[in-house]
């Protein structure tokens, strides 16, 4: 039984070392929706001249500067379940309101928090055609929303 006691002690030390958690700050979640523009006529990728894109209620901060864009990244509000974006483009003024669920998670002391945006939907829009192609936002995604002009 003396041997067993020695083994128990050794195994305890091994066990304690396995309790040390390895931090991993590479989160997969994202809080930006990637929007790509398409031509309504033939469905092909399009570049449009954007004057400004702003988040409703935060008009001082422009999300996209005046330029030609084939895609833009829209920052989703994490403190509420909807975000509205105001577009001024070559096709005129328009807006999109997204609704979604936000889950907040504390990752670790080193990595802080992350948000997971799920069930992304279009609540209302003045644009002709907008489609959500990816309703859970992630880092690996290359396209979340399609806008046809």
């Amino acid at each position: 039984m003396r041997h067993a006691t020695i083994y128990i002690t050794l195994i305890t030390l091994l066990g304690l070392s396995s309790c040390l958690e390895d931090p991993d700050c590479n989160t997969l979640s994202s809080t930006t929706a990637i929007v790509k523009f398409y031509k309504e006529s033939d469905g092909k990728a399009d570049q449009i001249r954007v004057s400004s894109i702003k988040a409703e209620g935060f008009e001082d901060e422009s999300i996209a500067k005046s330029d030609l864009f084939s895609s833009v990244e829209l920052p989703i509000r994490t403190d509420q379940n909807s975000s509205t974006f105001l577009f001024v483009t070559e096709h005129g003024e328009s807006n999109i309101t997204f609704t979604y669920d936000v889950s907040t998670r504390f990752i670790s002391d080193e990595c802080g928090i992350e948000y997971i945006i799920r069930n992304l939907e279009i609540a209302s829009t003045t644009m002709d055609s907008v489609v959500v192609v990816n309703n859970t936002l992630s880092n690996s995604s290359t396209e979340d929303v399609k806008i046809f002009n």
Binding site: F58, D79, S103, T104, E110, I116
Partner: protein, 253 residues
């Protein structure tokens, strides 16, 4: 990788320690002329044993030393574990109770997470050292575990578009379920004093991905994001004998 090494060495150590015991018993081997007498005594005792062997011989009650050490050495960490097992021949029935209170702050002080909850684990072990005269246990087993807990998260976050966001989210009385595979050893150190360990492989059944606040820690389970986790307990236990059972001095041939 480290985790696999550890589990492999755990297994190895279990095998080695049981092999050592067998060797010891072999060394005690008596002369061949006593064999027939022993065999007769054994058969009588075995007969006695079979009628009473499922009546428990004792209860072991213990506490986990690792959680006590962590309580004293870590800031904002309180954990307490108690265990009890009762024997039914080669089966041990276990009840474990625990409580965890923990708070974690992010290094940049932008987020603070608190969790508080209790857990219960019940299930059987199979003891492979049932014939050991010291009543040691080398076991594998299964646990059903559930935890009832509450947690909250306060944080400040800066967004280039939306400015500073301050929020506090909380969950009240969430319940988590999981299954554990266990293995370990329990040995007698002094007359009533026992020591032992339990290594656990835990598989989560509950899912909290739909919650507004996704829990970081499930008391008794570990990190909530992991579908499987590992656990380890080092027990100090006392055994309360319930009856005197005949323990034959089994000899190896």
């Amino acid at each position: 990788m480290l985790k696999y090494l550890i589990s492999a060495s755990l297994l190895l150590a279990c095998l080695i320690s049981s092999a050592q015991d067998q060797k010891k018993e072999e060394n005690n081997k008596q002369a061949g002329k006593q064999k027939t007498v022993k065999a007769k005594t054994d058969s009588v005792i075995n007969e006695l044993d079979s009628s009473t062997m499922y009546i428990p011989t004792g209860v072991r009650i213990g506490t986990d030393v690792i959680s006590i050490i962590k309580t004293f050495s870590k800031d904002d960490y309180k954990q307490f574990n108690i265990t009890a097992d009762i024997d039914f021949h080669k089966y041990l029935f276990n009840i474990e109770l625990g409580h965890l209170e923990q708070s974690i702050d992010s290094y940049n002080d932008s987020a603070s997470y608190e969790v508080k909850g209790s857990y219960l684990k019940i299930g059987p072990d199979i003891n492979f050292l049932v014939k050991d005269p010291d009543r040691s246990a080398l076991f594998v087993g299964l646990r059903y575990a559930l935890s009832s807990f509450s947690d909250n998260l306060s944080f400040i976050d800066k967004s280039p578009t939306y400015g500073v966001i301050t929020d506090k989210l909380e969950n009240n009385n969430l319940t988590a379920h999981w299954i554990e595979l266990t293995t370990g050893l329990k040995v007698q150190i002094a007359k009533p004093l026992w020591m032992g360990y339990t290594a656990r492989f835990k598989v989560r059944m509950s899912n909290f991905e739909e919650e507004e606040l996704m829990p970081n820690t499930i008391p008794g389970y570990g990190l909530a994001e992991d579908k499987v986790t590992w656990g380890f307990n080092y027990w100090i236990m006392f055994r309360i004998p319930l009856r005197k059972a005949p323990v034959p001095n089994y000899l190896k041939k």
